[in-house]
């Protein structure tokens, strides 16, 4: 087995005004011909730096200190720039994370694709034919006409397909995919994974996938390289990594993935601590400060590479000869314990959403009149009804564009509702003036999606967490005490109070967001994607904190998320949303175990499992979310539903109450 790309002891530094950051240290990895190799690691692990170094697209302050990247027999790092340009695109091509920003918005796909073929001495008609062929190959319907379109006319999933088509156009020897599905929904992710696997077989391509998503890696890859803080800690066959992980970091990472936990746990596993400062070259094992098995030797000496059977290798002192323990058993160092359910949901409903509809105007009244459009609106939320009790957590799940965020905002009066009622503790809160709503905001708080972006950038943490008191004129003169109390509550060290949001990591910023939401002891918190932008090891910390505060204060949570595996662990009830309508509501355990709506089934099945033996043969759901502006007739899901019948196409289903109290909006609920 020959390696197409062989990276040997690569060391890369970044020059910063504060000295050098040792971003990659002694990184060696092989990409064998015809295989899919996954590079997995959290943010700051240096996985992207590896790609940029190999493609020689490193930022201006990056320096390759030493090492080789042998590609097809020659060291890429010694190539002069003009030759490197021939390699990029021709022999090595890339699929980027966000197709919206990596494709030129002002050129049509046809133009972009013929541009890629500019080195080929072929007539333009031939180039266009190839481009159309490739677009067809990646599953873009009607490629002859769609090739003349621009990226903004494509949906997210289609754009990523087109991105893959562009990367494959030159028939590259190596395809590098950088987080290829991170910007996509679960159902799209499944389709893209399926597509990449198919194409790999067809083209016998060699693929290097970089991702933080363990499920994606398990589904897609043959071999896996695990990186932590600029070092390769373990590499091997995908089954070796997922079943016989030897390094404590790999094991911790696997345990943190909420999709792995098949039973519902209230407490998610975490990896304590932060990624080390790479300005200083670590003297011992780089993972030692966070390692539950760390020994004295781990802090003193760097571990050597130990080779286990079958090319599986790791760097850990636990495998040193002479150590009594030998290869460690699958120790669950952060074994989640069941938390007593305690006095949970009880009493009268805290929040009731009754047949709520929110619509957005898409053209002015005059223009609509001139154009003869009867209803110049799109309905973002339609007829949604929810009930949330005190101390209860309701998970609102759907793909992007399903209206879940709009629903959350409408409850807080941040988006204008069109029809329906929202009652909070028995009081009607819809349509209140901002002044009349203000006292209610003490009891209802919202956490926003972007942990750092939802904090005002020029305010200190102290100013941010005490702002609710200032706005509502409370606790005058005791703001410092309050700030300290809140900091303690979310376990943020007190010296963080003088920091600014950009000085915080994602997890720390999220803690500030939690503290701010809890400042006035609210009864309800609406959390929009509380784990978005956080690493797996940190998301558990935040959710555990939220759960603990819920038990302490009897909070009601409305958690909005697209991440079903995460939401399932912390929710009592689930509501599944599709195109602005709730399609299934009920107990979260029951929904997850036996989805009744085909869409729920697709969502549950769409989550890639971090288990290479559970690869899905078929994509659970085809097609894409239709546009809100042109809703399908009858049941709006029928265009993607594999159980759809004539009745579904013609008639809108009503709510069906199942035996266990679940409400499903489907003509043919999946009951056994």
């Amino acid at each position: 087995m020959t390696a197409l790309l062989d990276i040997r002891s690569l060391n890369v530094d970044f020059r910063t005004p504060r000295g050098r950051v040792h971003a990659l240290r002694d990184v060696s990895l092989q990409v064998p011909k015809g295989k899919i190799v996954g590079v997995v690691g959290e943010s700051g692990s240096g996985k992207s730096t590896v790609i940029w170094t190999v493609t020689r697209l490193l930022a201006a302050n990056g320096v390759v200190e030493s090492g080789e990247a042998i590609f097809d027999g020659q060291d890429l790092l010694t190539y002069p720039e003009p030759r490197m340009q021939e390699v990029r695109g021709e022999k090595v091509s890339m699929v980027f994370q966000d197709p919206m920003t990596s494709q030129s918005p002002v050129l049509s796909y046809g133009q972009q694709m013929t541009d890629i073929l500019y080195r080929r001495p072929e007539p333009d008609a031939e180039k266009m034919r190839r481009a159309v062929e490739m677009m067809r190959r990646v599953g873009i319907p009607d490629p002859e006409s769609r090739i003349a379109q621009y990226p903004h006319q494509f949906s997210g999933g289609m754009r990523q397909r087109a991105g893959i088509a562009m990367a494959l156009l030159m028939d590259p020897m190596l395809l590098v995919a950088d987080e290829p599905t991170t910007a996509l929904d679960v159902t799209m992710e499944a389709q893209i994974i399926h597509l990449i696997r198919e194409l790999q077989r067809e083209f016998e391509a060699t693929i290097m996938v970089v991702s933080h998503n363990l499920g994606l890696i398990a589904e897609l890859c043959d071999e896996v390289v695990v990186m932590y803080a600029g070092e390769v800690v373990e590499h091997g066959d995908v089954r070796d990594i997922f079943y016989r992980a030897a390094h404590p970091y790999t094991r911790a990472l696997l345990e943190c993935d909420p999709a792995r936990e098949m039973t519902r746990t209230r407490l998610l596993p975490v990896i304590p601590g932060d990624i080390p400062d790479l300005h200083i070259k670590p003297t011992g094992c780089v993972f030692a400060p966070r390692c539950p098995k760390a020994m004295v030797v781990c802090r003193e000496r760097q571990p050597d590479a130990h080779t286990l059977e079958g090319g599986h290798a790791t760097r850990c002192h636990l495998l040193d000869p002479g150590l009594a323990e030998g290869p460690v058993a699958q120790a669950e160092h952060t074994a989640p314990e069941a938390v007593s359910e305690g006095p949970r949901s009880s009493g009268a409903p805290l929040l009731e959403v009754d047949h709520l509809s929110v619509r957005f105007r898409i053209m002015g009244a005059l223009k609509a009149r001139v154009k003869g459009v009867q209803e110049p609106f799109v309905d973002a939320v339609l007829n949604a009804s929810l009930t949330l009790k005190r101390g209860e957590t309701l998970g609102l799940v759907g793909e992007s564009g399903s209206g879940k965020t709009t629903l959350g905002r409408a409850v807080l009066g941040l988006a204008e509702a069109h029809l329906g009622n929202v009652t909070f503790e028995g009081r009607d809160v819809l349509g209140l003036s901002p002044a009349a709503f203000k006292p209610l905001r003490r009891d209802m708080a919202m956490m926003f999606q972007d942990p750092v972006g939802s904090l005002s950038p020029r305010q200190t943490v102290r100013a941010l967490v005490t702002e609710p008191f200032e706005i509502h004129g409370l606790s005058k003169g005791r703001l410092d005490e309050e700030a300290e109390r809140l900091c303690d509550m979310v376990r943020l060290p007190l010296n963080f109070l003088s920091r600014y949001p950009h000085e915080l990591s994602g997890g720390q910023a999220r803690r500030v967001g939690v503290a701010r939401a809890l400042a006035l002891n609210p009864k309800l918190i609406i959390a929009d994607e509380p784990t978005a932008g956080l690493d797996v090891s940190v998301q558990g910390e935040i959710l555990n904190l939220m759960g603990e505060l819920q038990r302490e204060h009897g909070l009601g949570y409305l958690i909005i998320s697209h991440n079903l595996p995460v939401v399932r662990h912390i929710s009592d009830k689930l509501a599944i949303m599709y195109l602005g309508r709730l399609v299934e509501r009920g107990d979260s355990e029951a929904i997850f175990a036996r989805p009744a709506h085909p869409y729920t089934e697709a969502l549950v099945g769409g989550v890639p499992q971090p288990d290479p033996d559970k690869r899905r043969a078929l994509v659970s759901i085809e097609g894409e979310v239709p546009s809100l502006a042109s809703r399908p007739s009858g049941c709006e899901f029928h265009t993607r539903c594999k159980y759809a019948t004539e009745r579904c196409r013609a008639e809108r289903p009503g709510d069906t109450v199942l035996g266990d109290g679940r409400i499903v909006t489907c003509h043919h609920p999946l009951t056994d």
Partner: protein
């Protein structure tokens, strides 16, 4: 497992990575500025401008109005460093005092228009669409007047005075500040942190003053630094035409004007009146450009 077992970020006696990064960003910007020769030259010239104007009486060798008839129209001498004018007044002293007029117009003109422009711009950006459109219409209407012609018309109606010059400078420069503030506000209006503030119940004035203003003021300050020479030249130009500062008060414009009349006898007055104008313009432009290069990441080199 009880709640206290849930790991928290370790309390850190030293600064952690993120804080250190932010700290180093600030220091990095300072270092970048100190290493920028153009910026340092600009800073030096700007300090000179302020110092010479504020401490004019200290640096002056004569009284700006005292006439030394025997030595009228002299070139540079030991007594009169930059020569004298047709009435024998010391040109060096008059240029120093002229700087005070320039500073006064620049400081008041720029700061007042900055404040008004900032407020109007934020209101336009954050307020309802009709208000935005109305304000934009007014801004664009004002911008369509040529400043000097507007000043000529106003002076013809109301008579020449420094106050009028100031008023014209302020009115005509408000739109450019307001436009910039409006654009930045529009960009911020849809961000999550503004939505987060609204969800806490913050009032619009509070959002504008505490959360929008600190984020839009930076580019405005840089623009204002680059606007100072424009204002100074408008003042000098109007004074040169006899529409601004009235004799015998010294201004760079009046010194130039008087020098222009006697340029066949001696070139020194035109030179002495022109040099500070050139240096001030260069100073503020260099300073403004250096600040913009450092604080506007889009224009910085490298990735």
């Amino acid at each position: 497992m009880n709640p206290s077992d849930i790991p928290a970020p370790a309390p850190d006696p030293v600064r952690t990575g993120a804080a250190e990064r932010a700290y180093s960003v600030r220091r990095e910007k300072l270092i970048l500025f100190l290493r920028n020769p153009q910026g340092m030259l600009g800073l030096f010239l700007v300090i000179m401008f302020f110092a010479s104007a504020i401490f004019a009486p200290v640096f002056a060798t004569h009284d700006p109005l005292t006439m030394d008839i025997p030595n009228r129209l002299s070139g540079p001498t030991a007594d009169h460093w930059a020569g004298t004018d047709q009435l024998g007044r010391d040109t060096y002293t008059r240029v120093l005092y002229g700087g005070r007029v320039a500073l006064e117009v620049a400081a008041i003109g720029v700061s007042v228009s900055l404040v008004i422009g900032l407020v109007l711009g934020m209101v336009a950006g954050f307020g309802p669409t009709w208000l935005d459109n109305l304000l934009l219409l007014i801004f664009d209407a004002i911008r369509s007047f040529p400043t000097v012609i507007l000043a000529l018309a106003a002076v013809a109606l109301l008579g020449p005075s420094l106050k009028l010059v100031l008023a014209i400078v302020i009115v005509t420069s408000i739109p450019s500040y307001a436009r910039l503030a409006r654009t930045s506000t529009l960009a911020l209006k849809r961000t999550e942190f503004i939505l987060a503030e609204r969800s806490l119940g913050a009032s619009t004035p509070r959002i504008l003053a505490r959360h929008i203003m600190p984020n839009v003021i930076g580019p405005l300050l840089i623009l204002s630094a680059m606007d100072v020479p424009v204002v100074v030249t408008i003042e000098a130009g109007l004074s040169f035409l006899g529409l601004g500062v009235q004799p015998p008060t010294a201004s760079w414009g009046t010194v130039l004007n008087e020098g222009y009349l006697i340029i066949r006898d001696t070139p020194w007055m035109v030179i002495a009146g022109g040099i500070p104008l050139v240096l001030t313009t260069l100073g503020f432009t260099f300073l403004g450009e250096a600040l913009r290069d450092i604080f506007d990441p889009k224009l910085r080199k490298g990735r």
